[in-house]
């Protein structure tokens, strides 16, 4: 479980996050949604330690991450897998080397064991046999799946996904969404997904947090978000004609 308490972050006079408190449950897909520029990515970066918040606490299984020294933070980070918006695969390494990289850095596994683990992860994301390709030789959807394989290679306790569907076609988006949901359930991990894709929210979101102007504006489930009377959420959720039609039909 990840718990955020009263977290604030400003850049000069721009108060991006205002006193955010939230709990992300284990075994669930927790989604952070909101408009572009609402502070979703900044929140995620504060939670994983890429940005230092001005105030507040971030607890990983009741351990205060922000108060930890660097060595302790590194230990926690070994349990974090992250899927970046662009994949963030290492260009100079093959797919297999990318997946084996965290194992090479932090374990004493033999090369054959690491290769087995890489194959296992590749099979899990339906990319068996793609070991020797370079990231540049793969499609956007494949890169996302390779990034997921790399993120789970160390069997993390926490998985962060920053806009996993950006730049993908609807079919591939569904594949990625299902993969994230299945991995969360199978590995019983705490997954946090940052998204503004309403399809994903409805498909896989167990718990949803809506950020508006840097504040935790609303929390609930994917069913509740469709029926809430909150104006800001309705403006966000039913922004497209498709969602408006869906709402009318549901009504």
């Amino acid at each position: 479980m990840i718990e955020i308490k009263n977290l604030s972050k400003s850049f000069g006079d721009n108060h991006v996050l205002k006193n955010i408190s939230v709990k992300f449950q284990r075994g669930k897909v927790n989604m952070i949604i909101g408009q572009s520029g609402s502070g979703k990515s900044v929140l995620a970066k504060c939670v994983v330690g890429l940005l230092k918040p001005d105030s507040g606490e971030v607890e990983y299984d009741n351990q205060d991450f922000i108060a930890m020294d660097l060595d302790e933070k590194i230990e926690v980070r070994k349990n974090i897998g992250m899927l970046f918006q662009g994949g963030a695969l290492f260009d100079s390494m093959t797919v297999e080397e990318n997946i084996m990289f965290p194992l090479t850095m932090f374990t004493d596994m033999k090369k054959s064991e690491m290769r087995d683990r890489a194959n296992e992860c590749l099979e899990r994301v339906n990319l068996a046999g793609k070991n020797d390709l370079y990231p540049a030789e793969t499609s956007g959807g494949m890169q996302k799946r390779i990034a997921i394989a790399r993120a789970i290679s160390m069997k993390p306790k926490y998985l962060f996904c920053d806009e996993p569907n950006s730049g993908l076609d609807p079919q591939t988006s569904i594949v990625i969404d299902n993969l994230i949901r299945d991995i969360t359930e199978e590995m019983d991990i705490t997954t946090v997904v940052i998204s503004h894709d309403m399809n994903s929210v409805i498909e896989i979101g167990d718990y949803i947090m809506f950020i508006y102007k840097g504040e935790n504006w609303w929390e609930g489930t994917s069913k509740e978000i469709l029926s809430t009377k909150n104006q800001e959420i309705n403006d966000f959720v039913y922004a497209s004609e498709f969602m408006k039609t869906l709402k009318d039909k549901l009504a």
Binding site: V48, G49, L50, K73, I74, E75, R77, K78, I80, M82, F84, Q85, G86, A88, L89, F90, D91, F101, P102, T104, M105, F106, M154, F160
Partner: protein
């Protein structure tokens, strides 16, 4: 003025992180060998070409400027040796390497920054500064002296070759000139400068690449800044080291 202090502070903190304890020596050793290839071996061509031609030109220019019969013929070899060993090889080659290696380092690390690869390393718990920069610094400090020795040899050889081809001086006079009043400390001085410049080029270029922000355009700017600042610091340190060591 505040911005200068900001950059000095941030550069110092980056260097401190670079020299903190590595996660796994075997990985760093492998990266070190790869960097020797990328930074050093791939520069042999340009260094050889430049050095040979500069040696040739120095020999020709010296010969064309010696009109007085009072100046001995071996002056050509002597001048080529002094120019190449004291200044051309350690300093001018360092400036060329600042352009080639420096821009390469800044754009490589800068691209990793803007494509979130450095963030990925940090989140995994890897000390990204040490992982990316330390092997480059060590490789440059290790391989640059070899490049400079090759440059010295080829520069002096180029002068001898043109002397032989054109007959401006005899090969015997040229060889006498390159041996005349030779002080081995000149080589030590050149090596000290080389090691300092290797550190300057790799750390300044890495600094600009590591703190790139935004888009590909910004990576290009970082790359340019890396070359400009590396060159300025090479010239400045050249002056300081010459004053400290030779005077």
């Amino acid at each position: 003025m505040g911005e200068i202090y900001y950059h000095i502070g941030r550069y110092s903190m980056l260097i401190f992180r670079v020299f903190s304890k590595p996660e796994k020596f075997s990985i760093y050793r492998k990266n070190f060998v790869q960097e020797i290839d990328k930074i050093g071996l791939s520069s042999i061509g340009i260094v050889s070409l430049m050095s040979t031609f500069i040696g040739v030109v120095i020999a020709l220019q010296t010969a064309s400027n010696i009109d007085s019969p009072l100046l001995p013929a071996y002056t050509v070899g002597f001048t080529v040796r002094q120019s190449i060993i004291l200044e051309f090889s350690p300093t001018i080659i360092a400036l060329i390497l600042a352009g080639k290696v420096g821009s390469n380092i800044a754009s490589e690390i800068g691209t990793m920054r803007v494509t979130e690869q450095i963030d990925a390393l940090d989140i995994m718990g890897v000390n990204s500064a040490a992982y990316l920069i330390l092997p480059k610094i060590l490789a440059a400090i290790f391989i640059f002296p070899f490049l400079i020795i090759i440059s010295m040899f080829l520069g002096i050889f180029g002068g001898m070759l043109i002397s032989w081809i054109t007959g401006i001086v005899t090969v015997n006079d040229y060889i006498y000139g390159i041996q005349y009043d030779f002080k081995p400390f000149s080589i030590v001085y050149a090596m000290i400068k080389t090691v300092v410049f290797a550190f300057v080029i790799t750390t300044i270029s890495s600094y600009f690449g590591y703190f790139s922000k935004g888009s590909a355009l910004e990576v290009g700017r970082s790359s340019t800044a890396a070359v400009v600042y590396s060159s300025v610091f090479i010239l400045l340190l050249n002056l300081i080291l010459t004053q400290l060591i030779l005077i």
